[in-house]
């Protein structure tokens, strides 16, 4: 059975031998192109997401495959995997997070600069997975807000790519004012983050 991920359930016909992604909407004429600032910023951001891998177990191994030449996350503008939270845009939490590890995940998230996104990869990061145990955090959304959840135990690299494209989608369409909004502040406050 085909796995239900974006690339096999939505059929995208190839229009030309080299298919180009459509740019943002705007006015074009000879020698100029005018569009909204937010679209340009979104375009720039979504194609240069620097991931911070927070890999604690087997999902991390799948992530290594994802970064390597075969699946090649670099195609999506994420060549630069950074291990410094200050330089990163996307926190990828991969693997079981024990309760003792929870404050560290939160600290790493706090050290990242806005705008920042979070991807929870695999059953354990999303919900605790099979570890319904006193020692394991039942999903990282108990300590930090999560943008995209990738199901699987562990997910295949294609599934993570699918999740990554969902993040790109979110990043590209995000309003420039979202992070100053009351609603966003409320969300942060619900996690005890100022």
């Amino acid at each position: 059975m085909a796995r239900p991920v974006q690339y096999n359930i939505t059929n995208k016909p190839i229009e030309a031998p080299i298919a180009l992604d459509k740019g943002p909407e705007g006015f074009t004429g000879e020698g100029f192109f005018a569009t909204k600032l937010s679209d340009v910023v979104g375009l720039a951001r979504k194609n240069s997401i620097w991931p911070l891998p927070f890999a604690t177990s087997c999902c991390g191994i799948e992530f290594m495959a994802l970064m390597a030449s075969h699946y090649d996350l670099a195609r999506f503008g994420s060549e630069r995997v950074s291990f410094s939270p200050r330089q990163c845009d996307l926190l990828m939490v991969m693997g079981t997070i024990a309760k003792k590890m929870a404050p560290i995940v939160k600290q790493v998230y706090l050290q990242m600069a806005e705008p920042r996104w979070v991807l929870a990869m695999g059953a354990c990061a999303s919900s605790g997975g099979i570890f319904d145990s006193y020692a394991v955090l039942q999903g990282i959304d108990q300590v930090i807000p999560v943008d995209v959840y990738v199901p699987g135990c562990p997910p295949r690299p294609e599934a993570v790519l699918d999740g990554f494209m969902k993040v790109q989608d979110l990043v590209g369409k995000e309003s420039l004012r979202r992070r100053n909004s009351e609603r966003y502040k409320e969300l942060m406050n619900s996690y005890g983050i100022q």
């Binding site: 309760k99 003792k100 605790g128 319904d132 145990s133 006193y134 020692a135 394991v136 039942q138």
Partner: protein, 168 residues
């Protein structure tokens, strides 16, 4: 000279007599029990005696037997004689209300880590341990999770369907 289970048993009976009981040999490993106040004396004897020389503490852990009233918690020592390559198992029992057992850190340095772990999971108070605080679990945990009165599963979840986990 080769050390056998019989010789070890003989040596111990000569020295401690009736204080060591419940002798057994599951899977060929000599196992015995004693009073918890005697644990240091017996371990010291096993360590020092020129014939026995059990100088390596392989493992130290606890077991919770809720049905054994008055001696719910067992502390189990696994000892190894590295010269003769022979292993023994030594148990002491303690009531759960006052789970005080003497620490063997002075005798075996490796007991330091293992006693902290045993304290962490079973709440056994090792008297004389230099730093008896939690080691594996989160510091703010307020119970001893491997005791059988506590459920293994995370209790804060409400969205996990018990049926899906084979529970009712």
């Amino acid at each position: 000279m080769s050390l056998s289970n019989e010789t070890i048993r003989q040596c111990l009976t000569e020295k401690f007599g009736e204080d060591i009981y419940d002798w057994g040999e599951p899977y060929g490993m000599l196992t015995f029990t004693s009073h918890k106040d005697l644990n240091l004396k017996i371990l010291q004897f096993l360590f020092d005696d020129s014939a026995l020389q059990f100088r390596f503490l392989t493992d130290l852990c606890a077991v919770h037997y809720p049905e054994r009233k008055g001696e719910e918690l067992a502390v189990v020592y696994h000892l190894h004689n590295l010269i003769e390559n022979i292993r023994i198992r030594f148990k002491v029992f303690t009531p759960i209300e006052k789970a005080d057992v003497f620490s063997t850190t002075a005798l075996y340095a490796s007991a330091n880590w293992m006693e902290r772990e045993t304290y962490d999971f079973y709440g056994i108070n090792f008297i004389g341990h230099p730093n008896l605080v939690r080691i594996l679990n989160a510091d703010e945990m307020d119970y001893f999770p491997m005791r059988k009165e506590y459920p293994l599963e995370e209790q804060t979840r409400i969205d996990k369907d018990d049926e899906m986990f084979g529970r009712d």
